[in-house]
């Protein structure tokens, strides 16, 4: 199984470039098994929304 560190790398990369089908499947499998990474994933999405909010409200 993919390590947690690797899973976080792919969670991050997903904001910048599409993952391959295999990457998506192995990340998806990891997130189903690992509640810590699933939580991390939600929080990185929250961070992304925060950044969007920051860009909209300024200047």
């Amino acid at each position: 199984m993919m390590s947690c560190k690797r899973a976080t790398e792919q969670m991050s990369q997903r904001f910048d470039a599409p993952l391959s089908l295999i990457e998506k499947m192995s990340l998806g499998a990891h997130l189903m098994m690992c509640d810590k990474c699933a939580r991390c994933q939600q929080q990185l999405e929250q961070l992304h929304r925060v950044c969007q909010k920051r860009s909209q409200t300024k200047g």
Partner: protein
């Protein structure tokens, strides 16, 4: 005016909108952002002999501006009373053990009221601190990507970095900011509205 002065003015006008956009993002205050960009121009005039090579002029101006913004945000953060210390946020290598699994003290914790954080002025102060606390290059790449919405290809080209390099920096930035926001804001027991 000598040729060098005319030259720097011309270059500065080209870069000015981007500097201003960057300063506005980091400071709440439009007039203050203008001031900081103006200070940057003055500082650039005064130390023009330290600048060599036209291709990196923009990078050089951004570095000057960024130092001015850091000073400003530090000044504000001293006014902002909290026991939160961004220095204590773990490095990415400290978040995972030798098997690349989460270290127990570094596991993501439940976040309190994530959706209402935007409403709090202090939340944005914590956010700015977290971003400015990243290493210089990492903060720049993160800001370009997430706050200015520049595609990674363009970041690679303009900064001369490989795609893998940029992805690695963004990964580090996101995990560190996640940890920093958790420590400085979302991990708090309760937030008074």
């Amino acid at each position: 005016m000598n040729a060098a002065v005319i030259d720097i003015e011309e270059h500065f006008e080209t870069v000015r909108p981007r500097l201003l956009a960057f300063a506005r993002l980091q400071l709440e205050d439009e007039a203050l952002a203008e001031d900081k960009v103006q200070d940057t121009l003055l500082a650039a005039y005064e130390s023009i002999e330290r600048f060599n090579g036209q291709s990196k002029f923009e990078t050089w101006l951004f570095a000057i501006l960024k130092n001015k913004l850091i000073d400003e945000i530090r000044r504000r953060s001293r006014e902002f009373t909290t026991d939160f210390d961004a220095d204590q946020v773990a490095e990415v290598d400290e978040m995972f053990d030798e098997r690349a699994h989460w270290v127990s003290g570094q596991q993501p914790q439940k976040w309190v009221q994530p959706e209402s954080s935007y409403l709090h002025e202090q939340f944005w102060q914590v956010f700015d601190l977290c971003v400015f606390h990243l290493p210089k290059g990492t903060a720049r790449v993160f800001t370009l990507r997430e706050l200015l919405g520049i595609e990674t290809d363009e970041i690679c080209d303009s900064l001369g970095l490989s795609q893998q390099n940029v992805w690695t920096m963004l990964h580090r930035a996101r995990l560190k900011i996640r940890g920093c926001l958790e420590r400085g804001w979302y991990g708090r027991e309760e937030i008074e509205l």
